[in-house]
Amino acid sequence: MSFANLPLLGVLAGLAALAAGLFVLQRLRVRHRDVVVPTTLFWQEAVEEARARVLVRRFRHPLAYLLVLLLAGTLWLAFAGPVLERDEEVDHIVLFDSTAAWMSEERFAAALELLEREVAALPRGRTTVRRLGSSPATVLAAGEHPELLAERLRESAPGATRAGVADELDSLVELRLPRPLAITLIAEEGLDPARNATLPPGWSVRHVALDRPRSPNRGLVELGLREAASGAYEEVDVLAVVSGDGPVEAGLVLELDERPLELRPAWVEEQGSRRYLLSGLPARGGLLRVALPRAEGSPGDGIAADDSASLRLPLRRRVRVLVSSTVPAALRKVLALDPAVSFVTDGADLVVRSVGEADGGAIPALELASSDAQSHAFTLVHGGSNEAGVVLRAGIERLGLDEIDAMDLARSLQRPIAVGVELGATPAVRVWSELLSERYDFVDSLAFPLLVARAVRWLGGEEELLLHAASGEELPGPAAQLVDADGRRYDSAGAAFVPPHAGSFRSADGASLEVALGAPEITAPAPRDPSAAVAAAANSALDATALLALGALALLVLEWALLRTGRIP
């Protein structure tokens, strides 16, 4: 048994104090019955009442004392709020989804009521409640009174974020809890059955959802970009996927930098989803907003958070390249075919030359070096802000060096083909000039133009394409400190950033990050199997307060009856 209102020690201390206090009162208590007599002359001589109220005399009426002690003790226990918990073999945890799934109508309020009912049915001493969402938190610890739950969630509102149930379960598994865990998931969407199979032995997951189905909903489940299919370097293509069981939209509402964008995207229908392609958008760093059309004054569909999303288009500018006259024709040719390259004679962003040449000055350079002067076939020169290993790994991936058939080259050259890193004042990529010789197949390989193109982009400071940003999904690369629209700060400490919710984020240098909801499981959940509806848990805890109060009332009636019949003083 546990007590909701008092700790066990407090309950016992209270009982002891009651017993002592009542004991003292009982010793001093004398209830007189009035009797009229002809005279009290003889009684005055015989009386010993003066000695009846002395504490140290014989204790009288022990049964009456026990009765009143029982009565007072029952009331005290009722005040302590005892709860008899029948299920003490497992711990319980309730995962409450407070994400965009409840952002329709009054579903969140109904979900809160459902949560309270579920929690009330679980043993108080072994039930924890976690709120999922952008900031997962424990809103009710084991042993706390369920009324605290309502108080703590009163200001809560569903957030434009995904539940992250899988991540939460992973965290729970890693805790290596001593007792089996019975998980109650209160969410629109249940857990993947395959995930259930990976839970530790003795664990169970029970999905509880609202009885009434959600209104039809349709929204954006994906928004991303890619290199323009046209090949234009300073353009990108954007892909938007709309899904759901709501009415199919008649096109999309597009805005670029808050101005309407007159564009009729192509689309294809695919299993209830429409995939829109916005081709040739200018890569000038603009903010693209994609929204589903809504008639003015219409109430909207089931969820509003997925009705629109924004995407920051990259800032793309052709790299101004100065090419030295000593550069072999093969390399010139590849450069000429690169849409990202713009040949200039001055004001270049990048110079292509042989090592030792002064063309272009101290600017990023793609240089050709003699194998006698350079130990590595490919050398990356960097400014030193990162560790050499980091630069090396990034360089290999970024420059596509892993696409090079190094074994073949090595056999041809009779020398090992390696990648090295050096510190230098200006970034550079140095390649053995011998590799460009017609004696080797490197120039004819697919790796060569790839290397050149990527080297140009890397050395030219091309912004990496952020293909898409969705809540709950890890973004590539380390992230700086970010601040959301509400002023909340997020610092992933140099690790990859996982946006906690949809919306705008801004870094210290002013760069903005637009994150879409991108949650198909929320926008267009799989149809729920009616047979899988789960009834609420049977109340395994018995609140004994009412029983004790009734017991106290019965004892009171008994005392009254005994008093009336004169059986107790």
Binding site: V30, R31, H32, R33, D34, V35, V36, V37, P38, T39, T40, L41, F42, W43, Q44, E45, A46, V47, E48, E49, A52, P569
Partner: protein, 300 residues
Amino acid sequence: MATPRSLPFEQLFDAAFLEEVARLRLIARRVPRGGRFAEQRSQQLGSGIEFRDFRPYAPGDDLRAVDWNIYRRLGRVFLRLFEELEDLPLYLLPDVSESLFVEEPPRALAGFRTTLALASIAAGQHDTVALLPFDTDLHLAARPRAGTGRTLFLARRLAAIEPGGRTDLARALRRLGGLDLRRGLVAVISDFFDPNGLDTVLAELGRLRHRLLLVQLVRPSDRDPRLTGDLRLLDCETGHAENVSVTSKVLERYRAAYDRFAAALAEFASARGAGLIRLDVEAPIVPQLATLFEKGAFVA
């Protein structure tokens, strides 16, 4: 305990009781001279038929009492003295305080019947009877009168008495003593539960020049109260409350106190030469009186 109420005539003196009183009168007449409670040897020079003694003549004496035989023989004048049986006024003092009326049956029922029985006997002997009930003071309900119709008159007077207040027998006796009545027999019919204490009462009784007959109205519970537990005893007259936890020891002390009270009363009666009768109010009165009369208990 019942609330004090007056006793109607029919309840007090029903036909059966009056018949018993008549029989009691007959019993009283059969008692030899000297056995009646109203007998008194007169100290006066009487013309009765029983010679008692001679005394020298003093001027002013009645010449009819001169014994001329002694004068002829001795040449001195002596008077013949005779015993004269005078009537003995009976002064009845029934207790009409509240305590006599509160119990069930009320002691006043037995008290009034006893009063009427004594009055009837006295009236049958042509003695004068007065009715002087008392509570906080002495009251005059009937002047001293003789006559055969006196009994009924006194019965009506008794039935008209209302329950009184507190008991103050000492005060009533002081007033009686101050009335300068012809010496007679004072019969106090009471429970003698005077809040002022028995000693005060006995002191006043001792000061009276009358002969005394004390009729104590008792009941078994006076000595053996059937009370248990923690009680608040309320004196019906004074209202005094006494908190008592009745235990065996308390009852022991109670009985001892009561015995002392009874013994003090008996001791006084013995020393004073007074008659003392204890009447059980819960038993028929007349048979008790008859038994006591035959045993001569009325003569101290």
